[in-house]
């Protein structure tokens, strides 16, 4: 299979200048994206940012207005079947045949993937075990809770032995414990089975912790892409760090000493709290200076503030 050719850290998803218009409204606007094999990529953005549309274009369910998208070297628009053979997709509004049991539902998916009849049973048991539903396999799906359905959804995706799994809002509407369990599961699968994941979500706080890299979408555009700490810096402080230092007392001398540390740009004093803006992470130097000045250090942290700010700026807009 072609996907075997792709080695770890080579891009498995490549989107170039992807644009999609619905009835004259631009939903996805000139989007470029690259996801490497072995990653857990979080495509994050508020509702209506165009994330789902990007996914649908990846699977060839919707045609892009312009631009192209390839998955493992297959063009999603022209070769959707090949793409779908190696890609699992967990839709946002996930549904199963309610009157069928979990096992029957999975069997149907397996058959649609042309898995040989004699392998289906063992395969079904295997994926149900992974998501922890093996006890419920003969229960009709109508009796399942939302979290169980979501787990069944992941089993359903795994049954085809995907190289890439795309999850659309996998934690939506779940309580935090179950959501974390699911994310944990994803993280383990990523490590053990070397499945590349792309997770679309508006729940930034929840999802970002398992992502190796994230992209932030807003109004159809990709506004930032990379590791979460880098993204925040890029978006808000123009590449600068911000370190908060709380001291028992603040003296002129210590302020000057800190100001003289290389790479420190400015200090903003608020009683005993200093907000230090700098080009690099200079926490060791700062602590050294403080210790030398015989002042007690109450608290010091580099602010990954970006996360909150991203959230406030882009996710709370609606």
């Amino acid at each position: 299979m072609n996907n075997q050719d792709i080695k770890k850290n080579e891009p498995i998803i490549i989107a170039q200048n992807l644009t999609k218009n619905y009835n004259g409204k631009t939903v996805v606007n000139d989007l470029n994206l690259s996801v490497k094999k072995g990653e857990i990529f979080g495509l994050l953005g508020p509702n209506g940012a165009g994330k789902s549309t990007v996914i649908l274009m990846m699977l060839g369910l919707t045609e892009p207005t312009s631009g192209s998208i390839t998955i493992a070297g297959f063009n999603s628009t022209r070769e959707p079947i090949k793409v779908k053979r190696i890609t699992g997709y967990l839709p946002e509004k996930l549904g199963f045949y309610e009157d069928m049991t979990a096992r029957q539902n999975l069997k149907y998916t397996a058959e649609l993937n042309f898995i040989p009849q004699k392998e289906i049973d063992s395969k079904t048991n295997e994926v149900l075990q992974i998501v922890g539903l093996e006890k419920n396999k003969n229960q009709p799906v109508s009796q399942f809770s939302k979290g169980m359905k979501q787990r069944l959804g992941i089993a359903d995706v795994l049954i085809k032995d995907p190289r890439l799994v795309i999850l659309d809002e996998p934690t939506e509407g779940l309580d935090i414990k179950i959501a974390n369990q699911i994310l944990e599961n994803i993280s383990i699968l990523n490590r053990q089975k070397e499945i590349t994941f792309m997770i679309c979500s508006h729940q930034l706080n929840l999802v970002q912790k398992i992502c190796t890299r994230i992209g932030i979408m807003s109004k159809g555009k990709m506004i930032g892409e990379g590791r979460i700490d880098h993204i925040g810096r890029g978006l808000f402080a123009e590449g600068k760090y911000r370190i908060d230092v709380e001291l028992s007392e603040v003296s002129k001398a210590v302020l000057n000493k800190i100001r003289n540390i290389d790479k420190v740009i400015s200090i903003n004093q608020n009683e005993n709290l200093l907000e230090i803006i700098c080009d690099e992470d200079v926490r060791p130097q700062i602590s050294k200076v403080i210790l030398q000045s015989n002042i007690l250090l109450t608290r010091m942290n580099i602010r990954d503030s970006s996360l909150e700010e991203i959230y406030l700026k882009y996710f709370k807009e609606e």
Binding site: L61, T62, K84, T87, Y89, P91, Y108, T109, D168
Partner: protein, 324 residues
């Protein structure tokens, strides 16, 4: 193709285990068996009966198995006219939620993310529906013929068997027509309730009211009265029949009645005197001639079935799949 086969198998299993299938099957069996018992009573009593009309309807040695379907009447209804009304309902029930129920249940995007062509889904569903209709209809008709063999004691002739087979095929095509129509609604409309609430009124309109409307229209275009000539009456009749042919149920009735009644030579030729009737009775059409008579009706039903299916197919293929 393999994808369609998988969908076909799953849908077929679904239909057979669905309550609606069992209910429809029960209804068609109850009604069919009631009619056949009345038919057998009539056929058995005919040789000794002094009732002229019954004698005319049942002549003993010819096409007795075909008579099983038409002789038994309850309130001017026989089994064939019951099928004309009931088969559309079967078709509608198997088609109205084919696509939109998958959409509302959230299964559609999951299915379409599997490595199958999109048309596999609609093809599989269509053929599963057709198969279910075929099994329902042929089973009741075979049961009726079986009861007939037991009750009458003579085996059916080859021509009768052939006619019954063609009759079954017409029933299936007719059912498929209605399924195609309701499947079209299931593609166009988002909610299953909307699609069934569109299909059922169309069924009621075409099956129950179209005949009356056709009568009214024909009286407007070609009024008849006490002074009318035969030509006037014939013109009125012709217009009436032609307008009625808009309704697939009428086409079905025309086709099946000619097929099942070899003595009925043309839809427009109704016996006017006993003399004419006698001539018709003993000059039944050969099966070729019957087929020539009903060919146009059959072609129209098939054509519309294909048209409806094609429209749903194209719309479904072009539909944007959205996540919400």
């Amino acid at each position: 193709m393999r994808g369609a086969l998988t969908v076909y198998r799953k849908e077929l299993a679904d239909y057979f285990s669905s309550k609606i299938f069992l209910i429809l099957l029960a209804v068609i069996y109850i009604v069919g068996l009631s009619f056949v018992f009345i038919s057998i009573q009539d056929i058995k009593s005919a040789p000794t009966s002094t009732n002229q009309s019954l004698l005319i309807k049942v002549f003993i040695d010819e096409f007795i198995y075909l008579k099983l379907f038409t002789v038994g009447e309850i309130l001017n209804f026989n089994f064939v006219s019951f099928l004309g009304i009931f088969i559309p309902l079967i078709g509608i029930m198997f088609g109205f939620n084919a696509v939109n129920s998958e959409k509302t249940s959230g299964n559609l995007s999951r299915l379409l993310s599997q490595p199958i062509y999109r048309d596999s889904l609609i093809n599989g569903k269509f053929f599963a529906g057709t198969t279910t209709i075929a099994i329902m209809i042929s089973s009741i008709i075979f049961v009726i013929v079986g009861i007939g063999i037991r009750a009458i004691g003579v085996p059916p002739t080859s021509e009768e068997i052939l006619r019954i087979f063609i009759f079954i095929i017409i029933c299936i095509v007719y059912g498929t027509f209605w399924m195609g129509l309701s499947m079209l609604f299931s593609v166009i409309m988002k909610s299953t309730i909307a699609s069934i609430l569109t299909a059922i009124p169309i069924w009621i309109f075409l099956v129950f009211f179209w005949g009356m409307i056709a009568k009214a229209l024909s009286d407007v275009f070609a009024p008849t009265g006490d002074t009318s000539t035969t030509a006037d009456i014939l013109r009125n009749q012709t217009i009436w029949v032609n307008i009625q042919r808009v309704s697939p149920q009428y086409l079905f009735m025309e086709a099946t009645l000619i097929l099942i009644n070899p003595t009925l030579q043309h839809v427009l030729l109704r016996p006017v005197s006993t003399n004419a009737l006698n001539k018709m009775l003993f000059n039944p059409l050969s099966i070729n001639q019957s087929l020539i008579q009903i060919w146009p009706q059959l072609v129209i039903i098939i054509a519309f079935t294909i048209i409806f299916f094609a429209i749903s197919y194209v719309i479904f293929m072009k539909q944007e799949i959205r996540s919400t």
